[in-house]
């Protein structure tokens, strides 16, 4: 199918919409927040279900522990804050009380990556996917637009076990179907091609589709695959695509070390070695700026994907 944007929307609003629907359909769903209700778009849930909402204050470690405890008694807690505070700040709490204990906690992380923008490097976490994917039992999801974030929010309530759901701040193109069923761990081929496989996640999926259009004008037939689930990685989808194209590009709003690219590199190295080029942040902290400016400055934009694809093809 051809993907067209129906307008710009923020992925965090997709989370808020999904959470509200869950509130109405699943009485065991509870929500927690650490003083960021508006930023996480949890306002509607809080208004409609005040008894199932926990305001933890600026105390993220406690919030994670509360969430783990709430599962004991059958609740399904969705704990939301900025990605920087939902991962690095509370890594040990997530590791012991959630992942090792295999609790049914959904860690909902907004404002992930460089597109957080003006607040700068303290808040622009680009290590979160790596941190979370290293934890046994943890499912790691990074949807690409509003519709997919809403669908993913609904889907993770059905999965029993810890989940890290990552989404962002800025309004970005909304281009996936509103009625999609979200299958955890099942990559989506957005565009078929024969010359290069572009594996993209989050905000980079739309840019990868644009890059494929640009590549087509240069006579290059690119395949674009949306890896919305970083873990478990859809190994079959990756290997089947690369078997056809014999080279790959990974594209993510994350550090080069430890992100989606490394997962794909490991998979290819072990099973079917092929050239891989990374579109990711190269081992440096972020800085203040507008989201679009920052994406270009840090090499995460459409032209960067085009160049990476050409390099990958040249290495075949």
């Amino acid at each position: 199918m051809e993907y067209r944007s129906t307008g710009n929307k923020d992925t965090r609003s997709g989370f808020g919409a999904g959470l509200l629907e869950l509130g109405r359909t699943n009485p065991n769903v509870v929500a927690l927040c650490a003083d960021l209700i508006g930023s996480l778009k949890m306002d509607d849930f809080v208004r409609e279900f005040p008894d199932r909402f926990v305001q933890a204050g600026i105390a993220e470690a406690n919030m994670v522990g509360l969430a783990a405890g709430l599962t004991i008694g059958g609740k399904i807690p969705f704990a939301g804050t900025f990605a920087a505070f939902a991962t690095g700040r509370v890594y040990d709490q997530i590791r012991q009380s959630v992942a090792y204990s295999n609790k049914n906690v959904k860690i909902c992380a907004s404002h992930a990556g460089i597109t957080l923008g003006e607040d700068g490097a303290t808040h622009q976490i680009m290590e979160d996917l790596g941190l979370m994917k290293m934890l046994p039992n943890m499912v790691v999801i990074n949807p690409c637009d509003y519709n997919q974030t809403r669908a993913a929010t609904l889907a993770i309530a059905q999965h029993v076990g810890p989940v890290y759901l990552r989404f962002g701040r800025p309004a970005v193109p909304n281009f996936t179907p509103a009625d999609q069923q979200f299958q955890i761990g099942q990559a989506i081929t957005m565009r078929s091609g024969a010359d290069v496989s572009i594996f993209a996640t989050g905000h980079l999926v739309w840019k990868a589709l644009q890059a494929a259009d640009a590549l087509a004008q240069q006579g290059i037939d690119a395949e674009v695959i949306n890896i919305h689930t970083i873990k478990p990685l859809d190994s079959d989808a990756v290997l089947q695509s690369v078997a056809k194209t014999r080279c790959a590009v990974s594209a993510e709003e994350h550090m080069r070390h430890g992100g989606l690219g490394d997962s794909i590199a490991q998979l290819l190295a072990l099973n079917a070695p092929a050239p891989l080029e990374y579109v990711a942040v190269d081992d440096r902290f972020g800085e203040s700026g507008k989201p679009d400016e920052l994406m270009a400055h840090f090499g995460l934009d459409t032209p960067d994907i085009v160049e990476a694809a050409r390099r990958a093809i040249a290495r075949k």
Partner: protein, 281 residues
């Protein structure tokens, strides 16, 4: 009214279990475990309403217990086995390869009685508060108990949870502090003083109870009193004075047995001071 002599006799056997388990594993934390043997016995054999034969993680309708200071695992395992959560023979596997009795407690191996992992300190009060809130949402009138080391109170997350529980009126929880004044590097007052602990908890909005945790009658009484204090808008904390190494003369009055296993000869000398009551595992 509780049969104090019976509880004391169970606690004696628990102390023997702890010493034999730690000796056999040649590792573990006997000091604090011996100090809290009376507390665990009182809680599981008299105070808590629970179902050892039908363990479920959710524990609907049951009182729940969370051990925040997970290194006291040996005493918890002994009491869980002695009251029927699993066979006492399994105590012999403590800390060995393939055991469900991991060095620090975890639900990962499916050991009945354990609902969450602990070991990295400071997390259990938050978890206990979460479980207490789940009980409320479920209309479940049972209580949540927890145990914390005094050294553990140096962790900031404890005070996040303390502030939260009082502010949100989580009043179906009874937290206990194992107030033995000792931690790995020495006396708590030397390592990082807790100051006026009673005043701190009161300032955070908790109802504070105190008792000697090595006098069974006093301990049982205060835990039953604690039940009467729940449901009145304030969380309850018991500052429980204990002696690290209680019951074994050469392990008392020092922090040196916090994380050290007795040798075979030391075990023999220790066991000679504690009578067999229920029979060794």
């Amino acid at each position: 009214m509780a049969d104090i002599e019976r509880l004391e006799s169970i606690a004696a056997q628990v102390r023997r279990d702890v010493l034999r388990m730690v000796n056999r594993a040649a590792s573990g934390h006997p000091g604090g475990a011996l100090g809290c043997a009376d507390f665990f016995t009182a809680l599981y054999f008299d105070v808590m309403r629970h179902n050892p034969q039908r363990f479920s993680i959710d524990g609907q309708g049951e009182d729940l217990f969370f051990l925040s200071s997970g290194h006291l695992s040996a005493v918890w395992y002994s009491v869980l086995a002695r009251c029927g959560y699993f066979d006492t023979a399994e105590l012999a596997t403590f800390r060995a390869m393939g055991t469900r009795l991991q060095g620090h407690p975890t639900p990962a191996e499916g050991l009945p009685g354990i609902r969450i992992a602990s070991g990295s300190l400071g997390q259990g009060l938050s978890v206990a508060c979460g479980a207490a809130m789940a009980k409320r949402l479920n209309g479940d009138a049972a209580l949540v108990f927890s145990l914390h080391g005094d050294g553990e109170l140096q962790e900031g997350q404890i005070w996040e949870a303390a502030m939260f529980a009082a502010a949100k009126g989580v009043d179906n929880i009874v937290a206990t502090v194992d107030y033995n004044g000792k931690q790995i590097d020495g006396p708590v007052g030397d390592v990082l003083s807790l100051g006026d602990l009673r005043a701190k908890w009161e300032a955070f909005g908790w109802l504070v109870l105190e008792a000697n945790g090595n006098r069974m009658a006093e301990l049982v009484q205060v835990l039953h009193d604690a039940r009467g204090h729940v449901g009145h808008g304030k969380p309850v904390v018991l500052l429980m004075r204990t002696e690290m190494g209680q019951g074994v003369d050469f392990m008392m009055g020092t922090h040196k047995w916090h994380g050290k296993a007795p040798s075979d000869e030391e075990l023999e000398r220790a066991l000679a001071q504690i009578p067999v009551t229920l029979g060794d595992y």
